[in-house]
Amino acid sequence: MAFTLGTVAVGFAAMNTGNNLLYLLLGAMLGFIAVSGWLSEQAIRGLRVERRAPRAVTVGLDMRLTYEVTNEKRRLPSLAVELLEQGLPESAFLVHVPAGGHTTTKSVNSFVRRGIYPLGSVTLSTGFPFGLFRKERDIHMPGEITVWPRTDRAVREPAPRVGRIPSTGMSARGAAGSRGEYRSLRDYRVGDDSRDIHWKSSARLRGPVIREYERDGAETTWICLDLRGEPGEAAEVAVEVAASLASRAVSQHRPFALVVGDDVLEPADGMGQLERALDVLARADFSPDAPPPSPPVSPSNCILVGIDARPGFGDTLAVGRRARLVHKDADE
């Protein structure tokens, strides 16, 4: 912009004074503009781009998009070319692609929300050679990235059968008899049942400590995500809790099943099952009018994850404010 304004000013001065050297200077400045425009155009022309994108990526983790770029021009190299995905903040950079040559570059981005992100255009842009102006060219490369919810959210161990709704709002805990063999002690997490606090150890360690119990390894964990509720932060937390439960089941080599609205992911285990579950969770859309989860098994064998607590399930992990109020009422 400054260069353009300067050119206009020099042109104005030349016409006003009739000073021929200013015309010469004006000509040189226009020459810079013309050459800059032409070379920028040439730098982004004749480039064939192929994108290698991961099928899915987890929220908050780096996503690397790799671009294989071939310069199909016979004589002119391409220099200082940026590749920017539409809608993504970080770009990839090609410092030099020789004429007829091939090179690879990558961009690193991360997502803050789960979802299905369409990959549309890759914008090739360059300010080469002088940085005075930028030229852009869009290349259509349809595709999409599935952004999975986080699976590392700290969630208490759910119980398969539910006796009462606890007051913490983050969990509903089953009856005492539902516990298996004692396994270990661990730090308290929000949502843990206060009856599981091991008071002696807590006093000794000066912080709440919870007892954990072994469960039957062959038992399938039925995770039901309740989509009823407004989209927003609470809904995202609910999805992440469901994803974390699924991830935990896989890490413990246990089968799990997922029910999201009408969709049912049949019980299975392993990483494949987890990816399928994360795909489903990535697409989950919350709505106040959404149908309730309808598992093919008794709800009492299922863990309900949602914004609000609902009775009738084996365990409930509710994350919304209303859930807490309901729990309080229940406690009172």
Binding site: G18, L24, G27, G31
Partner: protein, 671 residues
């Protein structure tokens, strides 16, 4: 190669080019020029670390403040030219930036300061040195801007290795030729709507003796001694006349002689002949002379005698005084065109006794008070029995030409007298000869005056023009012939020494350089609308400028058509390129979907980056079910074209457009 170091060196060299360009125009104060040169030279090889650079900052600021104060003092106290103090300040800032740490992101400041120097030098009339510096500056700027851009981009993207090969650098350097080509085209074709830039050329004026209001005997001749300063460059558009070495480039005439010095009378009555005499009674077609004078400290226009007309369009205004001499008003280097007859009237006509107007006796028959009567006797004796003034003048001239020409000046006061020259020494230079002839003619009653100017010149084959130097300073005589005006007589014998100049070892190189300088002056500094019209009339096949002004005049179609076809071809190529470069690159379906997203966003529907098309519809539905129907149609068609690889036909696109329009209207209403 260290990219930052290389880039800094290029930027510093741009500063050096700016320095040279300004020196080519206005020159510098020696101290500041020397300091700046040393500092920039140092900056090419030494770069302080960031800590030392920060310490040096404390040094530059007070110095800059001092120079600002100096500039203000120049403007408000002594009311002097501000350019030099400002340029000194620019040099200081340039030096300070050049001597910063390599980490400093100051390349834009370096570019700007060097450009400011180039810009400042255009305020003057710089010589070829400017051209050299300008070409160098463009070459350096091309490479520096490219390297700087690569450097910034590489740093931004944390790329460590930038392949800056020689071929890339040389190709980029070659781009500067392209830029200079564009500059040339713009320079030649950009319409000159204003004229008359004379620049601040007075700082470059050449001091010259012999053309002020009074000239002492011997003073003018002193300039002849070894002064090769070029004062005139003369082109002859109609071809050079015969006898170039004998052309008298007339400057000023002097009417009063007191025995020691020639002066111009303040109260001189009009004493030039009517132009019609020269036009009608002198011989031959007129000689057109395009004269490019150097900026001299005396504002005299030189031309062949008699100048029928003098015209200029480079900002000077020729003036015609009572003696018939041409002076001018204006600044800078005069460039003008003069016309003169090819020769004097026929000898037979001059021999005829003619009555008529005679100029003032008081002025043109004036002799010194203590005029030696022996000179009068000598003049009488030489012209006894001759009845016309032409033959009398020839007799005196021929007798004087038997003397010896010498550039050795008399050493004592007695030897400087005219009598000593005529009766004892019988040798001298042009001033003695012309003064002797004028006084002898006046002594026998013939009106005459002394004239100073230049004789001959050296033909420059490189530029096809005549070079006149101060070595060729000369004096001669003009004699009044009633009915014909002032006619030149030159009593000085041959041997003025110009051959010595031409045989000088440096002369061929100097002539070549001067050819470049002359072209520079003519085609760059003094380039005008007339030159433009001349070029275009040549390209379009018009024979004269008048053809251009008369559209009905038939021109040579065979000459015109190739150029017209070329122009049309270029325009068509540019149009094709533009259409290709700016054609639509986004599918219309995608465009419309993006427009729907933008409209939704403006309407306050929460549109987040990861929002899927169907989720967008749902959000719109939450706001308005009616709008959602149209949005759904847009999204459906978008998904079909985008992910279903379905090519949308015109009916679908029309439907999509209609749905988008309705949805946008509804969303706008909601917003």
């Amino acid at each position: 190669m260290n990219l930052r170091l290389f880039h800094r060196r290029l930027a510093v060299l741009m500063g050096v080019a700016g320095l040279v360009a300004f020196a080519g125009g206005a020159g510098f104060e020696p101290l500041s020029a020397l300091l700046a040169t040393i500092a920039l030279g140092t900056a090419l090889f030494w770069h302080p670390d960031p800590e030392r650079s920060a310490r040096m900052e404390r040094f530059w600021l007070p110095l800059a403040a001092l120079l600002v104060a100096r500039a203000l003092w120049h403007v408000f106290v002594i009311e002097d030219d501000i350019v030099i103090p400002v340029v000194d300040l620019l040099l200081l800032l340039l030096t300070a930036e050049a001597l910063r740490s390599l980490d400093a992101p100051n390349d834009l400041r370096l570019y700007t300061l060097s450009f400011a120097l180039i810009l400042a030098s255009t305020a003057y009339r710089p010589g070829v040195l400017f051209l050299i510096a300008f070409v160098g500056y463009i070459g350096l700027a091309t490479v520096a801007l490219m390297v700087g851009h690569l450097r910034r981009q590489a740093e931004r993207h944390e790329v460590r290795e930038v392949p800056l090969g020689r071929s890339l650098l040389s190709t980029t350097g070659g781009l500067s030729c392209l830029i200079l080509g564009v500059a040339l085209v713009v320079f030649v074709t950009f319409p000159r709507v204003s004229q008359g830039w004379a620049g601040r050329g007075e700082t470059m004026t050449t001091s010259i003796a012999g053309f002020s209001d009074q000239v002492s005997l011997g003073e003018h001749g002193s300039t002849i001694l070894g002064n090769p300063q070029i004062v005139l460059r003369v082109e002859f558009p109609n071809g050079p006349p015969a006898g170039l070495g004998g052309l008298h480039w007339r400057g000023r005439s002097y009417d009063r002689f007191d025995g020691v010095r020639w002066t111009r009378s303040d109260n001189l009555p009009p004493s030039s002949a009517p132009t019609t005499w020269y036009r009608e009674r002198w011989e031959g077609e007129s000689i057109e002379q395009r004269i490019f004078g150097s900026a001299l400290d005396t504002r005299v226009l030189f031309a062949l005698h008699p100048a029928l007309e003098i015209d200029s369009n480079n900002g000077i205004q020729p003036l015609f005084d009572n003696a018939g001499d041409f002076i001018y008003w204006g600044r800078g280097q005069p460039a003008y065109t003069a016309w003169a007859p090819t020769g004097p009237p026929p000898t037979e006509e001059l021999r005829q006794p003619a009555g008529g107007y005679h100029p003032s006796d008081d002025h043109f028959l004036q002799l010194p008070r203590r005029f030696d009567p022996a000179i009068t006797e000598l003049a009488d004796s030489l012209t006894v029995g001759i009845d016309n003034r032409y033959d009398r003048a020839v007799a005196i001239r021929d007798w004087l030409q038997t003397f010896t020409y010498t550039r050795e000046l008399p050493t004592t006061a007695r030897e400087t007298t005219l009598s000593h020259f005529l009766f004892e020494r019988r040798a001298g230079h042009c001033e003695y000869f012309s003064t002797a002839m004028v006084t002898m003619l006046r002594a026998i009653g013939i009106e005459a005056r002394n004239v100073n100017g230049f004789l001959g010149g050296q033909w420059n084959d490189f530029g096809n023009y005549l070079v006149v130097t101060q070595n060729e300073a000369h004096s001669w005589v003009e004699i009044w012939f009633p009915g014909y005006g002032w006619v030149e007589f030159d009593p000085t014998p041959a041997g003025s020494g110009t051959a010595e100049i031409a045989s000088s070892r440096w002369w061929p190189g100097r002539i070549l350089f001067d050819g470049v300088q002359h072209r520079w002056n003519k085609w760059v500094l003094d380039y005008s609308m007339d030159d433009q019209l001349g070029i275009f009339s040549g390209l379009l096949g018009s024979r004269t400028l008048e053809d251009l002004e008369q559209p009905n005049t038939p021109t040579d179609a065979t000459t015109q058509s190739p150029w017209a076809a070329l122009v049309l071809l270029l325009v068509a190529a540019a149009g094709w390129y533009w259409v290709r470069a700016t054609g639509p690159t986004v599918e219309p379906g995608t465009q419309m979907y993006m427009q729907l997203r933008s409209a939704s966003s403006r309407a306050g529907v929460g549109v987040t980056p990861g929002l899927t098309p169907l989720a967008l519809v749902e959000r719109i539905r939450a706001e308005s079910a009616t709008t959602a129907r149209d949005a759904e149609r847009v999204v459906d068609l978008y998904l079909r074209s985008r992910y279903g690889h379905e090519r949308l036909g015109e009916p679908e696109l029309r439907e999509m457009r209609e749905a988008l329009r309705t949805a946008r209207r509804a969303l706008r209403t909601r917003a």
